[in-house]
Symmetry: C2
Subunit: 84 residues, 2 copies
């Protein structure tokens, strides 16, 4: 694996898994007050388009990373809509 | 511009600009209580690596989108560290 590929892979992993602690915190605390609803609405739409992009290009890393990020972002969005 | 490129461009724009309302909300309210510090720490590190990846590949869209996202994520991280 060359250095660019390693950096890209690490970058994708970090930006994807970063949403896990947010989901965990929001699930436990039921507090999403300071989270922006507009941010998660726009972000979720953007990640859905990234997933579509990955599927259209048959690019497995883009598809996989964005499928996981989409699931996590949808969790935060759902919790925000539920708890306000 | 082909359809894949248009979708990729729209996806990058949405995921980047989505952080603007979060920065605005956190700046105005001084409230970042329900935002996960661990999320923004890991996310910021990941976006910094995406920026490095774009620079190494001389890929302007990846570089530009991640430079803007990094600046916005750093704002949220700074506000979280300040307001707790």
């Amino acid at each position: 694996m060359n250095i660019e590929r390693l950096i890209g892979f690490t970058a994708a992993t970090l930006t994807t898994v970063s949403f896990v602690p947010q989901v965990y915190r929001s699930l436990r605390s039921h507090d999403t007050k300071s989270i922006s609803l507009l941010m998660y609405s726009v972000f979720t739409a953007g990640v859905a388009l990234w997933l579509l992009y990955g599927l259209m290009l048959h690019d497995l890393p883009i598809t996989l990373a964005n499928a996981v990020t989409l699931a996590l972002a949808l969790c935060v969005l759902f919790l925000k809509l539920r708890h306000g």
